[in-house]
């Protein structure tokens, strides 16, 4: 497993046009991003196309990685997830586009925001466990499947406004738990 330092080093070298570093970055992160693209797109051919497009974006945007303050995995996962979800939504011809990497670079939260997020897997899992099962499922489906409020309202058979109230409350509960 590559460390955060490895990933940052490869991204910095990629930004300078180092193909070997880009290759190393691909070898160590592509299985994770491909799994994510498969989960979101639910189609192997489309996920393969998406993965190509994602790494083309990584190559071109690597120079902007350092200014945005995210951990390399947060940056790569967000880039891959948003790209795959945009693809699903274009397929369905509905819903707005998610951030592109350009916008992601503009958030500039600073390194301390990332540290404050203290986002180890165990913590977020424990906080999801504090939510009612179906509410946790709704947040997961929005993040990992790109489902919209309309999709979620249909799935849980509640009016759209109720769905939104649920999800917003769940987010606040999660945030409160994560900050505890």
């Amino acid at each position: 497993m590559a460390t955060r330092d490895d990933l940052e080093h490869w991204l910095a070298r990629t930004a300078q046009g180092d193909r070997a570093a880009f290759g190393a970055l691909y070898r160590h992160t592509s299985a994770k991003l491909f799994g994510l693209a498969l989960r979101i797109l639910k189609d192997r051919g489309e996920a393969e196309d998406a993965l190509q497009e994602i790494y083309v974006k990584v190559w071109h945007a690597a120079g902007r990685y350092r200014v945005n303050g995210y951990s390399p995995m947060t940056w790569l996962i967000t880039l891959a997830r948003n790209h795959a979800i945009d693809k699903v939504r274009r397929r369905r011809a509905g819903g707005g586009a998610l951030d592109d990497v350009a916008e992601l670079a503009d958030a500039r939260p600073g390194p301390e925001a990332e540290a404050v997020a203290r986002s180890e897997r165990g913590r977020i899992e424990a906080c999801f466990d504090e939510l009612d099962a179906d509410r946790a499922e709704a947040v997961r489906r929005a993040y990992l499947d790109g489902e919209s409020y309309a999709d979620l309202a249909e799935r849980f058979a509640v009016p759209l406004n109720t769905m939104r109230t649920w999800l917003r409350r769940s987010l606040l509960k999660l945030r409160e738990c994560l900050e505890r």
Binding site: Y26, F34, H60, T74, D106, R108
Partner: protein, 226 residues
């Protein structure tokens, strides 16, 4: 609305924004706030980092080798060499145009690419609309830059920057509307060119008022030995 309610509202909004569930007009408004409201931007950053850990629940799947081959072909395949080939004709056309306009008076030195550049860089915008080819003439201490594609919109300028290592970007000036130009590289920068990154940003007419890029970075590329 009290302060606490307001920040709760923002916390939830930032989460909805990162999840991508907001209706389009609310998403646009939230996106615009990120640029102007650092507190909101920090909330968005927290959600991005926290929610990204959900990806750990997804089983990694090794992609087939053809994906890497196709990615490499797309980035470094024949297109790359073909792409460099347009820079010389662009410069030649510019030189000819200058020669025609100024003939028979003394022709000003129309920009020509160095015959034996020490370093080259290729800068391609993500959407492919703007492409620049740069070549550094070590003897003259000048950088030849050919541009193809989008010029700056009216009232805006394209500014060229050089970033050496961890240093802050240093301006190489605003690019003229001409398709090719030559810019001086300050002597103190010349030693740090290997691996330095060139970048073009969108700036107000006349260039960045602050001495650092203020607008979107449109294209970047590293200088590598030619």
């Amino acid at each position: 609305m009290t302060g606490a309610e307001k920040s709760d509202d923002d916390r939830a909004l930032a989460g909805e924004y990162v999840l991508g569930v907001l209706p389009p007009e609310e998403a646009r408004a939230a996106s615009a706030r990120i640029a102007t409201d650092p507190e909101f931007a920090a909330l968005v950053a927290e959600w991005r980092a926290d929610l990204a850990t959900l990806a750990d629940e997804v089983e990694p799947v090794a992609p087939p080798a053809r994906v890497w081959r196709a990615t490499e072909r797309r980035l470094f395949g024949r297109a790359r060499r073909r792409w460099w080939a347009w820079a010389a004709p662009v410069a030649l056309a510019a030189a000819l145009a200058a020669a025609v306009v100024f003939w028979p008076s003394f022709a000003p030195r129309a920009p020509v690419p160095p015959a034996a550049p020490a370093y080259r860089a290729e800068l391609v915008a993500q959407d492919g609309d703007l492409r620049l080819a740069a070549a550094y003439d070590a003897e003259a201490g000048t950088l030849f830059v050919a541009r193809e594609g989008a010029a700056a919109p009216v009232g805006r300028a394209l500014e060229l920057w050089i970033i050496a290592g961890d240093d802050a970007p240093v301006s190489l000036g605003v690019l003229p509307d001409d398709p090719a130009t030559v810019v001086m590289v300050a002597p103190e920068l010349r030693a740090a060119l290997d691996g330095a990154v060139l970048a073009v940003s969108d700036e107000p007419a006349g260039g960045s008022p602050t001495g650092q890029p203020t607008g979107a970075v449109l294209a970047t590329g590293a200088l590598t030995e030619a």
